[in-house]
Symmetry: C2
């Protein structure tokens, strides 16, 4: 079985995006806001949006199940206020739930949180609980920078995040640290902001003692851990300079990297320096990079090929493709166990 831990609904039906467009317009125009109604999206529209995209690619590439969340770049927590974010997040999460209901073999849900700049993360706990308990979701995406590239929120080790972590622990669900679009012209979203956020989060975890306070908290850092595996020596050295325990004890009992690294040498490095038990298969498809690599003739984001072509043993590959995800997402393991 092959579980892709990182897929976004980047192909949602037009009505969904249209609602968001009107919602944003409504922030400046009360007449538009007054006419705003939730979109009507048919099951057929949902099927169509997936059949020629994620489902086609799952079949073509031979992956089985995608841990599926709303489009990350469209979370845009910086737009509007807490209410804007809550309305949009609920709508996005409900749509994911419909996808999962239509294709229970192919998708399992992870939610977007209704974060908003300056709003305590504690306010996101209720939507997380709703998604897990009512919609059957198995995790959440946590945005370390709801300001969209201005980095005005406290670091992830700050106590203000703790109520959300408490809820995650209570529900036994992990978070993927994932920023959204950037409204700072310095940062290209998928080329700089995403990767920077991954690197930043890891360094914050080194600086703090978060996992002493939450020994069972689990965090997935996407995009292969940002710059971290490439600079693994730097991070080991910095942990030492900051008088922290070795990374394996201090961070890597709780932090996991996905395999969204779009070339063989990058994946080979990841597999070499990061313990196998900390790596989860992910592709981010359909996502950041949609083209075909002229050097290989295959999609850049067909990361399964890189894992398969690596020097790992069959048992190690199985852990990356499925075993580790079962451990990090126990609600997925329970679902699959129940379904088996």
């Amino acid at each position: 079985m092959i579980i892709d831990c990182h897929g976004h609904y980047t192909t949602a039906p037009a009505g969904h995006d249209k609602f968001r467009e009107q919602q944003i317009k409504g922030l400046d125009d009360p007449a538009v806001m007054a006419r705003l109604v939730l979109p009507k999206i048919s099951d057929d529209e949902i099927r169509e949006s997936l059949e020629n995209a994620q489902l086609k690619l799952q079949r073509a590439r031979g992956t089985d199940l995608t841990i599926f969340s709303p489009r990350a770049s469209a979370m845009a927590h910086h737009i509007g206020n807490e209410e804007t974010s809550l309305t949009w997040s609920r709508l996005c999460n409900d749509l994911i739930a419909r996808v999962c209901a239509l294709y229970p073999e192919n998708f399992v849900g992870v939610c977007q949180l209704p974060q908003s700049p300056g709003v305590p993360p504690a306010h996101s706990a209720a939507e997380l609980e709703r998604c897990v308990k009512e919609l059957g979701f198995i995790g959440c995406n946590l945005n370390p920078d709801p300001s969209g590239g201005h980095w005005t929120a406290p670091p992830l080790i700050d106590k203000s995040w703790y109520p959300l972590y408490e809820k995650m622990v209570e529900l036994d669900v992990p978070a993927m640290v994932h920023v959204s679009s950037s409204c700072n012209p310095c940062f290209h979203a998928t080329g700089a902001h995403y990767i920077n956020a991954d690197t930043t989060a890891f360094m914050q975890f080194i600086q703090g003692d978060l996992f002493k306070d939450f020994p069972s908290l689990r965090i997935v850092i996407p995009h292969g851990g940002g710059a971290v595996p490439y600079h693994w020596g730097r991070y080991r050295g910095l942990a030492d300079m900051l008088k922290r325990p070795p990374l394996i004890e201090h961070v890597m009992q709780n932090v996991f990297f996905d395999t969204c690294v779009y070339h063989q040498p990058g994946i080979d490095l990841l597999l070499k320096v990061i313990p196998i038990e900390n790596i989860l298969f992910g592709s981010e498809m359909v996502g950041a990079v949609r083209g075909i690599d002229p050097e290989t003739g295959h999609y850049f984001d067909d990361t399964k090929r890189y894992i398969e072509a690596s020097a790992l043993s069959a048992a190690e590959k199985r852990r990356i493709f499925a075993g580790n995800a079962m451990r990090v997402y126990p609600r997925l393991a329970a679902k699959l166990g129940a379904g088996a």
Copy 2:
């Protein structure tokens, strides 16, 4: 010959740091500002500050010449105003010039620019010219984020940077893109801000057409290019999605990475995916990571060992150790030619 393209004067005599301390105090206290005088630092103090640090390590590791600049984390362009930054930058640069005069075989200067948030980069051109023409410097450090972690300056492809690039081209000197300390608690300076800035700058170059406008502009991105080599497939794919030419044509005629990557697998990746002609030997010593790697028994930042242990040919190693630096820093080549 082995040229280290990335060394900072992190061990400057106490009087130098004391001046800075008083200068910062003076921003809030006119009485302190009124008493502020330039520090008196003897040649012996300078010798002592280097003999047990950079010079000792040069000898121990077998490197010859360090391209040497003021301590990057202390540039702190975000403190005070344009005048604060100019006074401090001139002082730092003058101190580097004294180091280079005392040890002309061991050090060659690169300057700090008197950048300040909101101040046009054009205002830094005069200090660059002074350092090159009067002090014999061969390049500069360019801070893409003078705000210190708030990223309020325009991207490096913005026209506001052009007057500074024009001066660089006129003087035939490259810039190393190098941020300073972070006053944003999200970003650890050497663990997040530095690496993020490297990644961010590279992505900005992909987005723009800077090197069409300045075909002879040369930029060094330190710390092994941030996250870029690890995500080389992502950047090739993004260039394609953004309808830019292939990276080799679009960016890599003008952009170079140093080897400040503190473990063998990271260096091996760098050497594998980035063309050899784009890689300059650098160690950042004495710098970000000062300890000994318990896995190897050697200093993390003894990057010469990693290059030597790599699979490159002797000719390729020579290019990384010296040949490429001569090409990127023609004023260094001229100096060494004259000295030979």
